[in-house]
Amino acid sequence: MKDILVLMEHRQGAMRDVSLEMLSGAAKLGGTVVAVLLGKDVDAFADKAAGLADKVIYVNDAMFENYNSRAYQKALEALIAENGPGLVLIGNTAQGVDMAPALAVSTGFPLVTDVTAIEMDGDKPKPTRTFYGGKLNAHMNMKDADTYILTIREATFPADDPSKSGEIVKTDNPVSDDLSYRQFVEYVEPEVGDVDITQSSLLVGVGRGIREDKNLPIVEELAKLLGADLAASRAVVDAGWLPSDRQVGISGKTVKPKLYLAVGISGAFQHVTGMKGADVIVAINKDPDAPIFGIADYGIVDDLFKVVPKLTEKVKELKGA
């Protein structure tokens, strides 16, 4: 089998988990695992990658100090041409998604995004991904090619403990293009609100099922009674019904409360990633196939507008007793 090239992702001085996850997953597919590390003075990440890779290609250049998808794309084009890998793995992250489709177009190699499982058929990967917000798995047949590109969903593979000591090959920056048409300016940190939900021990999460902001009081009443804070799915924050610092998920916060009561939340992967670490997860949703029931401990399949007021009543009774 040909080599597997794995792009290391890092930001603001930290290696991102998906990098080590992909190296661990690649090792199980067979073939030589080659980590590609583009950065400025990130020798520590090269050492980290070497623990899970057979070889680390390390390009140390100011061009890669902050992520620029064009610089990354041009570097990968050159490294793919030079190394002829059979497979290229990139994180299906805000960075990876901003670059991989352009890399696939410019190299002419096929791409499947947001991959959640890989089987190999000789040199050809057979990726699985999801459709309809995780409600179906789709088995994909890629066009025959010399190199296949996949973007891998975070947490698809567990990150293994370091077991290798791959050779670190310092490589000159292969990119000489003028990239001034797109320039990194700065990172802007998220706003801080009145409640830090990452510190809350009880959370009631509200999703799209609440339908309108005028319905929020029914969950607010329950939350208040439980002594819980309100959290929200992306849809509720996008609609402006709750502030963005209440958003749980990949683009929001990661929470680990004792209780996460998900009300009208379907449980798309993006949300679940942020709350699956809760001790007890309860879901109330009218769709029996909602993915949230796959990770909840307890579920009620019913109309939240009927169940939540009843639950408030029952909790009141218990508290009064």
């Binding site: 998808s69 947001d114 179906l136 300016v185 439980l226 924050v237």
Partner: protein
Amino acid sequence: MNMVVCVKRVPDTSESEVHIDGSGKGIDTSRLSFGINECDNYAVEEAIQKKEALGGNVTVISLGDKQSDEVIRMALAKGGDDAIRLEDEAFAGSDAVAVAKALAAAVKDVEWDIVFTGALTDDDGYAAVPVALGEILGVPFATYVKKLEVMDDGKKVKVGRELEGGLMEMVEMTTPCVLGIQTGINEPRYASFKGIKQAARKEITIKSASDLGLDASDCGEAGSWAALEQFTPPVVGEMAEILEGEPDETAGKLAGILKEKGLV
């Protein structure tokens, strides 16, 4: 400042059960409602807001059959000026790159400074169209855009890309460019009654693959990176313990469990 906004009609499956059809490659849509893809709705709003602020023209483009006219007309009703619909049997089975090739061919005949698309679609979720389209057109691109400021008389844009954990990456790019819009960038308006009436009379130009100068090898499965082989239901882990009964009963059971666990 002229703009193109690409929209897709998709089934709303956010709160509905999704059943695989007999072919194993499609879903039973008989009980699903359809509408504009969520990110695309924000893309339409962003294009119209920029037109209102800076002047110019907004062209709405959609790849789909006649039923897509309803989402096109809604975008026109909100402030879009012209519309093109790409329809051809040859487009069946297109993945993100095949869609991007068709869109790239379609915008060649349109004057534009920015092409807006949704960052991803609610159905296949490839999230690859804006970036692939930008590369095919040979212009700068950015996706997961949640902030947009037009600078220097439209010669440049400053965009905020949404990263993990709510972090925003600010980048500056020259125009023309392609932007993949993320939900939450604005507050999409509702169309006015007057707008809807006017939109009903607007012409939607239909273009086939050959009108666009596309070869069969660029379209549908042949023009795609990958073909869908089969759908399967997702493998779920250990399912939740489902509390059965009427709301009064299930709420009572749940309250009891919370009490037992010391959470009440």
